[in-house]
Subunit: 473 residues, 2 copies
C-alpha cells in the first residue's frame, strides 16, 4: 500500500487513509515478504565480514563464499561480462535442463540482463535491424502486458494485435494468429510473435497442444518466437502444470527443433521471489545464428552489465537450498506460503468478481493478475466519450479518486473493441485483497446505481471483511 | 587481477601466472577494498534482521532504517519511480548544493539511472529526436572515453572530434572547438559538446577559466553541454581542486546561467567508492525545458528503474557519516587511503613512464588513468600496417600475449593522427601498479630492442620490484 494523506492537494478529505495500488505487480511494495535465504546470502556477499557469523545458516555462508569466488576480486562491486557471470549462466542452464526433464540447455545461450524487459528489447532491436525500409512487425496478444507497446515503440517495431479468446479463458487461437498475420502484411514485415505464458494479464496457461499449434504457426510463417515465461513458477489449479515452449519445441522433431528461432524470458521480479528492485532477468536463445547472438551481447554491453546482486539472486532463485541444507525448511515454507497466497487470492477474486453485477471474470490458471470484464452502463460509456476517455479509464480514475484503489484499465493492455476490462494484481497479502475487493465492490455498485438507477443486491458472499466504504457511510 | 591458466589454449606455457587488466577502471576487480560503511548499511537494508545487531555501528543501523523507510513496503525488492527514490534525489541535490558552496540544486532536476552511461544515452537520444533528417552531431574530445563512440552510435548521434592539447597537459582549446564545429557543420547538425572533467583518459583537470571558455563557446553556438564529472572526487596535486561546470555556469551571470542547457553526470563506479557492480549513477539537468525533461523520465522508464541497492549506495556516497558518527573514523580512513593510493600511483606512473625510452607522459591531475604517448620504431608501425592494425593495438596485443598485461590502446580513445598512446588505469593497489610498470617496461624495452636494434639502459628508477620478465629469463 502506498501511504497518502487523507486530504488531496486541494484539502478535500478523502474517505480512505491510504491508496492501494494493484495496477501492476510489485509484491514487496504490497507487503509480501522477501525470501529469507535470498536476502541472507546477498547480505553476506555484500558484507563478507558476516561469513563466520554462526547466527546465519551454514549453507547460506557456504553459498555466499562460492558466489563471491565467482565475482572478480571477490567483490559484488566489480563489473561482470555484459551477458552475466559465467557461474550464473551455468546454473541457469542446469535449472532449465532440470525443469525440462533433461532437454538440454547450454550456458552460451543464456543472457543475463537487468530485467526481462531489457532482454526483450535487445532481441526486438536485433530483429528490427538497421537497414529495413519496411517496418518490422511483432504479433502481440490482445490483451497483453501493459508495458509491451512502449517497449516495441522504443525498439522500433510495430505491434500487430492478435485476439485471445475470452470465452475460452483467453486461449490462443491459431485462426486469430493467421488473421493478424494477414492484416500485418499490409502494413509491415512481420518477423516475430510474442507470447505471454502464463498470460499477463489474462492468467491463461497454454497446454502442450496449444503451444505446439503456436510453434507450427511460427515455423510455417518463419516467425521468431518471443516467449515471456516470467510467471512459470506461479501456476495453480488442480492438474495444471507449466510446460515450457523450449521443451515442447525440442520434442517436436528436428524439422522444428533445429529451425524455429526462439527467445524465452524469465525474471527475478516474478511472483514468488518478487525481487523487482534488484533488477535482473535472463533469456535463453534457441536456434539463433551465433553471429547474431554476438550482436545481442553488444547491445547488452550498453548496460555494461546487469547489477551483480541481481545476478546472484537469479542463481539463488534457480538453485535454491536442498533438503539436506539448514535453510531448506524455512525456504520451502516461505515459497509455499507465497504460492498458496497467490493461488487462493486468484480463486477468491475470480469467485467474487463473477458475482458483482455487470462484471465477469475468467478463472486464472497462473500469473499474478485477474482480468475481469466490465459491462458498463451505456450512460457511463457515453459520458467517457464526451470526456475523450475510454470508459475503463474513467472508471479507474474515479475508483482511485473515490476509493483510493488503483487498478489498471484494460485498454492499457490492448485496444478494447468495445469491451472493457480491469487489470487486478492479486500477488498481495490476503487482507489486502479483501480490502481491494471491498473497495472495488462498493465503488462498482455505486457506479451502476448512479448510471443505471436500479436496485442491486449488496451482500458480499463469503467475505469476512465488511466494505470500508460502508464503514465510512 | 584476472586468473588465467599459465597455458594458453594451444598448451603453450606463458611466462606469467595471471593476467593483469588495467585497460579500464574496475577498482574492486583490481583488489581495491570496498568502503565498509556502504557495505554495512546495504547489508542491513537487504536483511533487516540485522537492524538490532549491536556488532554494527549505531549510525549504520539508523541509516539503514531510514533508507528502508524510503522504500515502498520497506523493501529494497520494490520498484521505485523511474528517475529514482525521492529521498535519494533530495540527498543528491543537497550534496551538489554543498559541493558548489551554496549554488542551489533542486531534486526535480536529479535523474538516477543504472550508471552514468545510461543517463548520457538518454540525454543524447533526446537531442537526436525522431524527426531530424540531418544527423545530430556531438563534439567529443580526442582523446576521450573509450566507451563513448559505441554509446553515441547506439543513440543515433554522430561524434565530431575536437583535439585536446597534449603539450598543455591535454587542455581544452577553444580554437580546436571552433575548428571542430566548423567541420561538423559540413556533415551534421551539431547539437552538443561532451566534456570529461577530470579527463578520461587524460587526467587533465580544467580550471575555472577553461570551464568559462567552454561555457561561452556552448552559449555562443547554442550547444548542449554534456559534462562527465564522474571523477570529481579524484583530484590530486598541490593546490588543485575540482570546480563543477554547474557552479561556474551559475556564477557567470544570467545571460549564461538562465540559458545554457547542461547535463552533469556522476557515478557510483567512480574511483573512491568504486561500486561498479551495483550499477547506479545520476545526472543533474540544468535549463532543460520541463516538457523535454518529461521525456527523459519516459526514456529512463524503459529500464523500469535503477537497482534499488545502487540507488541507496548513491545516497551513502553523497551523504557519508559525520564526525559525530560511530562509523566516521573508519570511513574517513578508508576514503583517504583510496585517495592517497590513487594520487601516489598516478605520480609514480607519470615519473616512470617518462623515463622509459620512447615514451612520454603528461602529469595527471585527476581521474584514474594515465595516458602516455608511445614513440614507436617505424619498423613496428609498418609491421602493424601490413597486419591491418593500428600500431598501438599491435603493441597491446603483444603485451597481453607476452606479459599477461592488458592495457588499452590509445586508438580506442579517438583517432590517432599518427601518434600512439596507452590507456593505463592506476586505481589499483600499489603492488599491482609496480607489477604493471615492471611488465610494461620489460616488454617495451624488448619491443624497442627488436625493432630498433639499439642498446638501452635497463635500470628501473625508484622501484623495489624487479621485472618479472627478468625473473623468467
Amino acid at each position: 500500500m502506498t501511504s497518502l494523506l487523507r486530504e488531496d492537494p486541494r484539502g478535500v478529505l478523502k474517505p480512505f487513509s491510504e491508496v492501494i495500488d494493484v495496477s501492476s505487480a510489485d509484491p514487496h511494495q504490497a507487503g509480501v515478504k522477501p525470501i529469507s535465504f535470498v536476502r541472507q546470502v546477498l547480505a553476506v556477499c555484500l558484507h563478507p565480514v558476516l561469513l563466520p557469523d554462526d547466527g546465519l545458516p551454514l549453507d547460506v555462508r557456504l553459498r555466499a563464499q562460492r558466489l563471491l569466488e565467482a565475482c572478480d576480486g571477490e567483490s559484488v562491486g566489480s563489473y561482470t561480462a555484459s551477458c552475466g557471470l559465467l557461474q550464473v549462466q551455468h546454473t541457469i542452464a542446469k535449472f532449465i535442463t532440470r525443469r525440462d526433464a533433461g532437454v538440454p540447455s547450454f550456458f552460451q545461450n543464456i543472457f543475463i540482463s537487468s530485467g526481462s524487459q531489457r532482454a526483450l528489447t535487445v532481441v526486438v532491436k536485433l530483429l528490427v535491424g538497421e537497414k529495413d525500409r519496411t517496418q518490422t512487425g511483432v504479433l502481440v496478444p490482445q490483451p497483453g502486458p501493459h508495458t509491451l507497446q512502449t517497449l516495441l515503440d522504443e525498439a522500433g517495431a510495430r505491434p500487430v494485435l492478435y485476439r485471445l479468446k475470452e470465452d475460452r479463458g483467453w486461449a490462443v487461437d491459431p485462426e486469430e494468429l493467421r488473421l493478424a498475420l494477414k492484416a500485418a502484411r499490409q502494413c509491415c514485415r512481420p518477423r516475430a510473435i510474442y507470447i505471454s505464458n502464463p498470460g499477463n494479464p489474462t492468467g491463461h496457461l497454454q497446454d502442450r497442444h496449444s503451444i505446439e499449434e503456436v510453434i507450427k504457426f511460427a515455423a510455417a510463417e518463419r516467425l521468431f518466437l518471443l516467449v515471456d515465461e516470467i510467471y512459470q513458477d506461479s501456476v495453480y489449479g488442480q492438474g495444471i502444470e507449466f510446460v515450457s515452449y523450449k521443451k515442447v519445441l525440442l520434442e517436436m522433431g528436428q524439422s522444428y527443433s533445429d529451425t524455429v528461432e526462439m527467445a524465452s524470458f524469465n525474471s527475478l521480479s516474478n511472483s514468488v521471489t518478487g525481487e523487482c528492485g534488484l533488477r535482473a532477468g535472463y533469456m535463453e536463445l534457441v536456434n539463433m545464428d551465433p553471429d547474431v547472438m554476438l550482436f545481442a551481447e553488444t547491445l547488452l554491453c550498453m548496460d555494461i552489465s546487469a547489477p551483480v546482486l541481481g545476478q546472484l539472486a537469479l542463481e539463488l532463485m534457480v538453485d535454491p537450498p536442498k533438503r539436506c541444507d539448514a535453510s531448506y525448511n524455512t525456504y520451502a515454507q516461505e515459497i509455499l506460503s507465497n504460492q498458496i497466497t497467490l493461488a487462493q487470492n486468484a480463486e477468491r477474486a475470480w469467485m467474487l468478481l463473477n458475482v458483482f453485477p455487470g462484471m465477469s471474470c475468467q478463472r486464472a490458471m497462473g500469473g499474478v493478475y485477474v482480468y475481469p470484464r466490465l459491462d458498463l452502463p451505456s450512460k457511463m460509456v457515453k459520458k467517457a466519450q464526451t470526456l475523450g476517455l475510454e470508459a475503463d479509464v474513467l472508471y479507474c480514475q474515479k475508483l482511485l479518486e473515490e476509493e483510493g484503489l488503483w487498478i489498471g484499465a484494460g485498454c492499457e493492455n490492448g485496444s478494447t473493441n468495445g469491451s472493457f476490462h480491469l487489470r487486478v494484481c492479486v500477488m498481495v497479502p490476503p487482507t489486502t485483497l479483501e480490502e481491494v475487493l471491498a473497495r472495488l465492490r462498493a465503488f462498482h455498485l455505486r457506479v451502476l446505481d448512479t448510471f443505471s438507477h436500479r436496485e442491486i443486491d449488496t451482500s458480499l458472499p463469503g467475505s469476512s471483511v465488511s466494505s470500508r466504504y460502508n464503514r465510512c457511510n
